[in-house]
């Protein structure tokens, strides 16, 4: 259904989410918004790493850029909310383009290390210039939900709606881009950039484009994250966040967009599960703090070892294998040969 009627599927999913949001309690609604944010952020990494083959350990910093752009616009110019998100995307995209230009000639660990250094270095810029509000950050208040939605429409539900609308639109668009010639050219460059260059693809531009779009998405996620906690500060985008995103991307299956929900849900659900486990078996604060990290990291290692291309790819591969096994009696190639009046064929 997705392939044939993608728009319908997305709208259907949107309706499902709307229905869900009315039935869940507030805490879950808030977490649901977090899932949406992670969906966007992880998708941005799937684009960059899975499709374009460039690793980034600093996407937290790109989220940070988008968030600050949105918050500053809101605070100083009282800009309408939708505009702040647009600006977040653009600002982060510019940052991504610059980073992409610098990083286009890097690969593998060099790129990883550079983005890592960025993730650490960027917050200190926020501390340096007082316009960024320093350690305590800038408030990012998107205001109350419109009165037309009723008295009982809570703030968290509003965040949920905004985040998921953004996520659905972003995913729809991203899917389109990944299936277009851009997506194909990224994959081509990723597989073999020399061959791609020979085929006429401008490798450098291609890579920078990937970085730009990926950064734009990350900026959107960053602004949404700032929205849900009503604050944008360096502490909101620590190194840990960049690592979580990389983790989520791998859990989702770095090369497919389809698994992005899984990655996002796991990231949000793990602390909850850890809490439930700790409460069940009676744990001290030490366990409650350490268990999520242990679970996520352990899961990451297992995923990389056992299902490196992600559970979705694995499923497809298995299905393809089963399909192949089921048709073992068919010959892979069908030949029909006519010799004179006789016809020989491998068709069955």
């Amino acid at each position: 259904m997705l392939k044939k009627h993608p728009l319908v599927t997305f709208i259907f999913f949107g309706v499902v989410l709307y229905l869900i949001s009315n039935r869940l309690d507030e805490l879950l609604v808030y977490q649901g918004a977090s899932v949406a944010i992670f969906v966007i952020a992880i998708a941005s990494l799937i684009l960059l790493t899975g499709y374009s083959g460039q690793i980034s350990l600093g996407h937290g910093a790109l989220m940070c850029i988008g968030a600050y752009a949105a918050a500053l616009l809101r605070i100083h110019y009282n800009a309408p909310v939708w505009l702040t998100f647009v600006v977040a995307v653009l600002a982060a995209a510019v940052g991504g383009a610059l980073l992409g230009l610098a990083a286009a000639r890097l690969s593998g660990p060099y790129l990883a290390g550079t983005t890592l250094a960025l993730a650490i270095g960027l917050p200190s810029i926020a501390n340096k210039f007082s316009i960024f509000g320093g350690e305590q950050g800038i408030s990012f208040d998107i205001g109350l939900p419109p009165a037309s939605l009723g008295e009982d429409f809570t703030q968290y539900k509003w965040y949920f709606w905004i985040s998921w609308s953004a996520a659905l639109i972003a995913m729809y668009w991203l899917r389109h881009v990944l299936n277009s010639r851009y997506g194909r050219s990224w994959r081509a460059v990723r597989s073999n950039d020399v061959a791609a260059e020979l085929a006429g693809i401008h490798v450098g531009r291609n890579k920078v484009l990937a970085f730009t779009i990926s950064a734009g998405l990350a900026g959107l996620a960053g602004a949404l994250l700032g929205m849900t906690i009503s604050l944008v500060s360096p502490g909101v985008y620590p190194l840990l966040l960049s690592f979580s995103l990389a983790t989520g991307a791998v859990l989702a299956g770095v090369t497919t967009l389809g698994g992005v929900m899984i990655g996002a849900v796991i990231l949000v659900a793990i602390p909850e599960i850890a809490l439930a486990i700790a409460n069940r078996y009676g744990g001290s604060e030490t366990i409650i703090t350490n268990l999520p990290g242990l679970l996520v990291s352990g899961l990451l290692i297992l995923t990389v070892l056992l299902v490196p291309n992600g559970p979705v790819e694995q499923m497809h591969a298995r299905r393809a294998k089963h399909a192949k096994n089921g048709k073992a009696s068919h010959s892979p190639v069908e030949l029909t040969l006519r010799v004179g009046s006789k016809t020989f064929s491998t068709k069955k």
Binding site: I55, G108, S124, K128, A246, T247, V250, G293, V304
Partner: protein
């Protein structure tokens, strides 16, 4: 003038710490072409082990080599169980490039959590065996004391030993060959997988030394979230890249450059710019001379 001398000595002391981490990163790179982001975590674990050993044996000079051996063993263990399985399962597709990086990140998280479980989050103190008070030259006190001097001497010795091993011995040759051209090395009769484990083991020992020496040379306090260790990872990496990820002397050279530049910025410009300068240094170098100062051109790509 005295401020300049101070800056110089401070830079060199800092550089010696970065160098230990940079050397172990280069070692891992040269033997298995992986950058081990869990290096800092393993160094942290080794530092805790060092603390336990000092507590049990009461003697730092016994504890240090023991901790290095344990670090080597742990590192080899990781290579054997984690990295090899990884290479087997994911040597195709885009995941091949990033799988080791992601796996080592996961490892870092696991190590941190385990340390938190075992030693708790309280501060743990590792006492320095030598005095950290600077030597006095006439009226002024220099910024390097017996402990600092030991670290520098240790780094130099380590560098010499490892370089000799790599350049002059058969094992070293096997190490280099296994990294560059594993298939050919295999054909020549080298047990590539065993050699790779050895490479990681040596790196583990160096990393353990880095963790312990960095701790005793600093405040001596260990916590699972030690900011020092995260910074050590990044700065060690930057130093390694500056010198050239391929080159062991490069790692030391890169550390010197990084240490001196940062000390200069700290003292003469402003302490608030350290992180930004480090990042810009890394970026600039990667743009104009990606193979580092002492690296050769071929080795830049992953």
């Amino acid at each position: 003038m005295s401020q300049f001398l101070d800056m110089f000595l401070i830079g060199i002391s800092a550089a010696s710490i970065y160098a230990l981490m940079a050397i172990s990163m280069v070692l891992v790179w040269r033997s298995t072409r992986v950058v081990n982001f869990a290096q800092a975590g393993m160094a942290l674990l080794s530092a805790y082990l060092g603390y336990e050993l000092v507590a049990r044996t009461g003697n730092f000079w016994i504890a240090l080599p023991l901790a290095m051996i344990l670090g080597a063993a742990f590192s080899a263990f990781i290579e054997f169980f984690l990295m090899r399985t990884l290479l087997k399962h994911s040597n195709q597709g885009p995941i091949a490039a990033i799988a080791p990086i992601i796996a080592t990140l996961g490892l870092l998280g696991v190590i941190r959590a385990v340390i938190g479980f075992i030693w708790g989050h309280g501060d743990v103190l590792l006492e320095a065996p030598l005095s950290k008070i600077g030597y006095k030259v006439g009226e002024t006190t220099l910024f390097v004391g017996p402990m600092g001097l030991f670290v520098i001497a240790f780094v130099v010795t380590l560098l010499i030993v490892v370089t000799i091993v790599f350049q002059k011995t058969n094992i070293g040759l096997a190490l280099r060959a296994s990294a560059y051209a594993p298939e050919i090395a295999q054909l020549s009769g080298i047990r590539v997988s065993g050699i790779r484990t050895l490479g990681w083991a040596i790196a583990g020992a160096s990393g353990a030394a880095a963790g312990i020496l960095q701790t005793v040379n600093g405040t001596g306090v260990l916590t699972p979230e030690s900011l020092e260790f995260s910074l050590l990872l990044v700065f060690g990496f930057i130093a390694a890249v500056i010198g050239g990820l391929e080159s062991l002397p490069g790692a030391v050279l890169g550390s010197l450059i990084l240490g001196l530049v940062l000390a200069f910025v700290q003292i003469y410009i402003s302490g608030t710019l350290v992180f930004i300068v480090a990042f810009l240094l890394l970026l600039t170098l990667l743009i104009i001379r990606p193979q580092g100062f002492l690296g050769s051109k071929a080795g830049r790509r992953a």
